[in-house]
Amino acid sequence: MPRISLKMVGASGQGVNSIGAIIAKGLKRSGYCVFGYREYPSLIKGGHASYQLDISNQRIRSTETKVNVLVALNHHGLELNMEELKPGGIVLHVTPEWQFPEHHQKLIAERNLRVIYFPVDDILNRLGATAILSNVLLTAFVWSMLDQDIDALKSLVGGRFAKKKTLLELNMRCIDEGFSFVDPEQGTISVPLPPPDKGFSSHLLITGSQAMGLGAVHAGVRLYAGYPMTPSSPLLSFIAELENKTHMVVKQAEDEITAAQIVSGAMYMGTRALTATSGVGFDLMSETLSLNAMIENPTVFVLAQRPGPATGLPTWTAQGSLLQATSCSAGEFTRCVISVSNSQDAFDLMPVAFNLAEQYQISVIVLTDKQIAEALYTQYPYDLEKTEIDRGRLVADPEKLKLLKSSDRFNPHAVGGVSLRWLPGSEAATYCAQADEHNAMGAVDESSLNTKLQMEKRLRKFHGLKAGLPAPHLSIGGRRAKTTDWMNEGDEIELLAIGWGSTGDVFQDVMCSDELRGRKIAYLHYTYLWPLRTQELQRLVMRSKRIVLVEQNYQGQLGMFMRMECGLDIPDKILKYDGRPFFYDELLASVMERCASTSEDQQNVPDFVLAGTPS
């Protein structure tokens, strides 16, 4: 798969994002698949930020550590990012008379780098334009380097200033100037892209947060309450931006406890409501999680992961909250934890989460992370027909409502532990959603018999939930065929990798690499994390010469659950816990290293021990 990478670096607020966004959209419209990745510190102005675009004419969904083009909006980029250039790479900068230190001069020579100074201030002065237009100039020059059509860029930029004629004209002049600039030393520079695939031009360019927001609206969410906390805030912003079109109730709450309680009250009343937070914000919501378990109130929480503990690294990524999602909160109860992996299932899983919550009258925690929340995906338009809204055992028919007894609401003998639910305001017998231990109609009952019955009712849901969850998704390197049959029988697997969340897309790209062509690599991706299905895993393990766990946390948290659930211990782990996502080349190297060391007669698959036995 051809890959070209372009990285804009500069101070936060200087325009790295706007240049990145315009180029990304322009390239996508020209027929390229673009994957955008942002790095930035937790501040508004200053600090070193970057926006990298990885570009291909095939589906691309990962970031490389090495780039073809570096665009440095200030001299810090020249100091900090030179090492990231590929041989033959291009450095475009705006710092007058910059003298590279000796080690960078050596690097430029060794890697045959081409350095272009773009005299942005001179051009701005000549045009009588303000500094804000420097980004348009630079964008236009990069656009010309990519051999793209100037009119496509003009229509993209022009759309923003349709009503401001003078601004529009100035922008167009900047585009002409930037596009026609030729570096006197380097001459005309071209970064060859592979031939485009026009199929991408109708795709969406979307962040995981936007995908999740659209998915929530699609799922029938009518009320959103949240408290700002990166990386959940972009979801709140997106939902709020849409409020005049969706007519939703949007509430920025005074804290995460309030957000969780408002959403719980709204769900109890019978609408679909959503909240999202991160790390310590979810700690504050955890008492409400426990509350909803006791009153059997369906709820959905989005937990957008960032590295912790505490404030941790607010604007960086992690998969460190799996244990938190599955285990936090008082008491024992049934909950479901799922994780989105990219812009496709960030959308698709929102109706799924609400359906599960209502089918089982439980809380569903949807994990995402900063990487998914803020990465820019090239996304095929969503299928709007496949979702069905399933509200479980909700009674709404007036005739059926009349037949209800108060004691139907928390009937401990209900099949699968899921009793009938009906909404406040319905003309029917009433009940109490009771956070104290209660009997079938919600009256407090601390008796031994009742306590046992109600505990069993709430925890019995776990079995139905677990049995109904979809299997983890298996991909086989180099194979395009369906893998459903492969789950049960197939060739010996050279390397079985297991992961979840944003790791999945990077691994998919790794499996498509030329370097691994013909290798029998399988990747098992978990979307449904709790309850955890292990039957497929157990079957695949028997056929695998080597297994590796791939996670963005220190402990290998999914691996811990696998061991807990089926006794399988996976000693070999590719773990990352530095706040950065897995990068394509880095993960490829880790996988290749393992493939090289897998010899014919040596296996690293541990002897299978049953859960609970000492190993």
């Binding site: 109708s202 408002i262 009250g265």
Partner: protein, 295 residues
């Protein structure tokens, strides 16, 4: 309040519960509980038409002693839960109940933002000036020098000036009742439930087991119906003065009501002109219009 008028009036017996009362003899909750039922019946509301939300405390133990769609939640959190319930279905009157411990200690932030947000709900403060259900600790409304469980020397903290706090938040409805006067409480509750925005109702109540300072007799001697003495609830300054000067005599009744102030939901521009509630709107939405800008 936003419910359709019923042709058939409810009987008080519709609110009767099978669950036995377990409050202490002489507890103020009996009176408040009774007045709530009267108010709902007099407003022509059947149990299935109302949502009653209870905080944790002795008041919350009333959650299964009455009919209606009820919720009994976590300590201090009843206001945001009730607000969420109301915003989801504006057609159902939502009444929240909380004690002075839950409201002015654990959940004081929720109270502040509840008043500030002017949510269209009624909040009834059961003020017995202590944590009753956890056996008589001082709340932030207990007088500073008062010896209590866990504070034998009295509390080192200042007592919170609750009415000053409420009036500093530009409330739209403030009333005070006394658990010994059911007629007064019923009148207040009916007005509160019919109020357009956040109705803050303080019920002074006896706690015969742990409150030996503001007893039933103490409150009986000092309370008076300020409206009967001519107090105009439209006068904010006078209301604040009346509410906070409670040493000699304790002013009860509807102390303040701002009639024409839009509540939280009225201020939501996206909801203007909509007849439906969020509950009624749940369905699969076509979102393709929203992604046009992303192509």
């Amino acid at each position: 309040m936003n419910i359709a008028l019923q042709t058939q009036s409810p009987a008080l017996s519709e609110y009767y519960s099978e669950t036995k009362c377990i409050w202490c003899d002489g507890c103020g909750n009996y009176g408040i509980w009774t007045a709530v039922k009267y108010a709902l019946v007099e407003l022509n509301l059947h149990p299935w038409q109302v949502c009653l939300c209870y905080d944790v405390g002795c008041n919350g133990n009333g959650s299964d002693k009455i009919e209606g769609y009820r919720f009994h939640g976590l300590h201090g959190r009843v206001i945001p839960f009730a607000a969420g319930a109301k915003l989801a279905n504006m057609k159902v009157p939502v009444i929240a109940f909380g004690g002075d411990g839950a409201t002015f200690s654990e959940g004081v932030g929720h109270l502040i933002h509840g008043v500030r947000s002017n949510y269209p709900i009624t909040f009834v403060l059961h003020n017995n000036t202590n944590f009753g259900l956890t056996t008589g600790q001082a709340s932030s409304l207990t007088p500073q020098g008062q010896s209590m469980n866990t504070s034998p020397n009295g509390i080192p903290e200042n007592t919170l000036a609750s009415m000053d706090l409420i009036f500093s938040l530009n409330p739209t409805f403030v009333a005070r009742g006394f658990s010994g006067d059911i007629k007064l409480m019923t009148r207040i509750l009916k007005a509160a439930i019919q109020h357009r925005g956040f109705a803050f109702v303080e019920m002074l109540q006896a706690c015969p087991t742990y409150n030996h300072f503001a007893t039933h007799e103490y409150l009986l001697d000092r309370y008076f119906d300020a409206n009967a003495e001519g107090h105009d609830p439209g006068n904010l300054q006078q209301a604040r003065a009346l509410a906070t000067q409670d040493q000699e005599r304790i002013a009860c009744g509807i102390l303040y009501q701002g009639e024409d102030i839009p509540h939280f939901y009225d201020r939501l521009i996206p909801r203007r002109g909509l007849e439906t509630t969020c509950v009624e709107e749940v369905r699969r939405f076509d979102v393709s219009e929203y992604w046009k800008e992303l192509v």
